[in-house]
């Protein structure tokens, strides 16, 4: 019979086993969030497609006609924007959702035991589902512009994994911080807004002057977006390999430190929430 000892300050070796045991909860919480979103709506799941479509249209108009930023090479500007929007939407939506997730599930956290990491992780999964739908939309768009991707597409799953890791890392940090310091609830929308302008969503990374390049590439989203553009658009978007290395390092740091910090703070959640 397995013995479980509960003591102050004892790190749970069982935690990772518990995460595996509760693995279905990842699915159920994400499923709940998605179901609830479209309850009592007329359009229902159609919203999942219409929303990103409208965003894409608006941003294309905004950045190309109004701000007059143009694509560097012979590709439709809309595709460039969309290839950048795709990962950006995923990461920013994950951040906003996961930072609020534990607070919103405060009744669960204070009444039931389960590994708390599942809560922000399932918000990331929910955003991932949206991402997949938008990816399908992108495929449709590429068919429309008769722009077929080539072998670069094989690298896409790698960049998706990178985006996932960055989302979870940042999400765990923000989530744990928000439970302890409620200020972060108000800081995050601002950070997300700001992030939109310092990430190469509406513009290409090429326009960033060389002296700012290093600082710029510390933003993990940069590597992800550039990677997406590179793999979806036949390598025509210029790709800077140091960017990718920085991104990988930053993401690895964020991911591991996020897990560490979250685990550290998790014990006190039920007392603080």
């Amino acid at each position: 019979m397995s013995e479980l000892i509960i003591e102050a300050g004892r790190t749970e070796k069982n935690y990772w086993r518990d995460l595996w045991r509760y693995r279905e909860l990842f699915y159920f919480l994400a499923w709940r969030d998605i179901l609830v979103r479209y309850k009592q709506t007329v359009m229902g799941v159609a919203w999942a497609v219409i929303r990103p479509f409208l965003i894409m249209v608006i941003f294309t108009i905004l950045f190309s006609r109004v701000a007059k930023l143009h694509a560097p090479a012979s590709m439709p500007y809309a595709l460039l924007v969309m290839a950048g929007m795709l990962p950006w939407q995923f990461i920013s939506a994950s951040l906003s959702a996961s930072s609020e997730s534990v607070i919103q599930s405060s009744n669960l956290v204070s009444k039931i035991y389960f590994p708390r990491m599942i809560v922000p992780a399932s918000s990331v999964i929910t955003s991932f589902v949206d991402f997949l739908i938008t990816l399908a939309l992108m495929a449709g768009m590429m068919a429309w512009y008769r722009f077929a991707p080539d072998w670069h597409l094989l690298a896409l799953p790698l960049f998706v994994a990178l985006a996932f890791a960055a989302s979870i890392g940042l999400g765990l940090w923000l989530c744990a911080l928000t439970v302890e310091y409620r200020d972060f609830r108000y800081v995050i929308p601002f950070v997300v807004q700001f992030g939109l302008y310092i990430s190469p969503v509406g513009f290409s990374s090429d326009v960033v002057p060389a002296k700012w390049r290093l600082l710029f590439s510390l933003n993990p989203v940069v590597g992800v977006i550039d990677g997406f553009r590179w793999s979806l658009l036949r390598g025509q978007a210029h790709f800077w390999w140091p960017d990718l290395t920085n991104s990988l390092i930053m993401t690895a740091v964020l991911f591991s430190s996020g897990i560490w910090y979250f685990r550290k703070m998790e014990r006190g959640f039920a007392d603080v929430i």
């Binding site: 003591e7 045991r21 159920f28 039931i112 035991y113 310091y181």
Partner: protein, 429 residues
Amino acid sequence: MSDAIISVENLGKKYAIRHQAQRGGYKTLRETLVRKTASLFSRQDRQAAQARTREDFWALKDVSFDLERGKVLGIIGRNGAGKSTLLKILSRITEPSEGRVTLRGRVASLLEVGTGFHQELTGRENILLNGSILGMSRLEIRRKFDEIIAFAGVEKFLDTPVKRYSSGMYVRLAFAVAAHLEPEILIVDEVLAVGDVQFQAKCMGKMQEVASREGRTVLFVSHNLPAILRLCQSCCWIARGHVEQFGPTQDVVSSYLQSSHANLSDWTRAGHSPPSIPHITQIRVRNGAASRASTITATDPITMEVEVLNSESSTQYQLAIRISTSDGIPVLTTTSSDQHCKLTVFPLGASTFTITIPANFLSSGSYDIICAILIPGGPLIDVVADKVGFHVHQGLNHATFFQDQRLGIVTPKLEWRHEVSAQISWSDR
């Protein structure tokens, strides 16, 4: 080490209570930064600041007990004693500050009914969600789906959103899911307090089944003492964070009942500035020998003395005393105007009322006294309630002579007469 499935050793849980102008208790980043920067420069500052702002509150301290496999343990205590904190630690929701707990089985806890239910989802969806949150696998839920629905009795409304359910249906569904968990250790916290009589009976039945037939270990927190007496073999009484008593249910429950009754035989008004209207200053309960006693034998008369202070011009009022059982059932109400059917003059200054309840009248048990000055049909001038009580102990009298179990709030010794009314002669038969 015996076959203990739960071992608790010196468990303690400490919370920090803040005492400054703390808005809501949430930390803000600004405060933490300012405080930490200030404390960098002065160690004294840091310590002083900590001492000033934090007070340690021990919700639990030195709690130790062992629970064997297959037993049902009841946990009782007043509100705020630390029972829920203990359950939270056992359920791994919060960490202890000291001590340790050893669990030798899978734990499932029911600390609140319907946790995880989402209002927008249908009953069917919520069963899946709630079951998963409580730790059941998808396969398990699907297997027990029909049983759960049958237990809850909501077949017709399975596909309507839960926000449309009546509170009774909601609670039945929530409990139905939780009742079909199959853990080795089940922890239940006062959830049976909700629901109608039928539902409570159903829950009670299920709990009994879980404990006796399926042989699981159950920890049951409740204020429903009859339920505790029925279900639990042993009981733990927690008071102010400590284990007050641990043992067979009967013993612990009667100690608990005795203590929680306000068995004060004397009460004096604490007071700096007494009100100017007539008010009660002292109440004393005495037994036949006029000595203080909060436990009085049924063969003694009970004397109550009420002191009243009146600083207005002498006016006419009524002093009323009501005696109720500890369950709140009123036994009798007697007033100062009963004897002569007119209001009493309260003279200026202090005066004492003495009331005697005859011997061999009240049954054994605990009683509470409410004392009031009033104008009949009008407002209450002064009331003293929940402060004085006494306990009647049977002793040897007419009721206990033949050792019968006498029911009734009063056990008076009444006059009986027995006379022959008609003779039957041998010739009539």
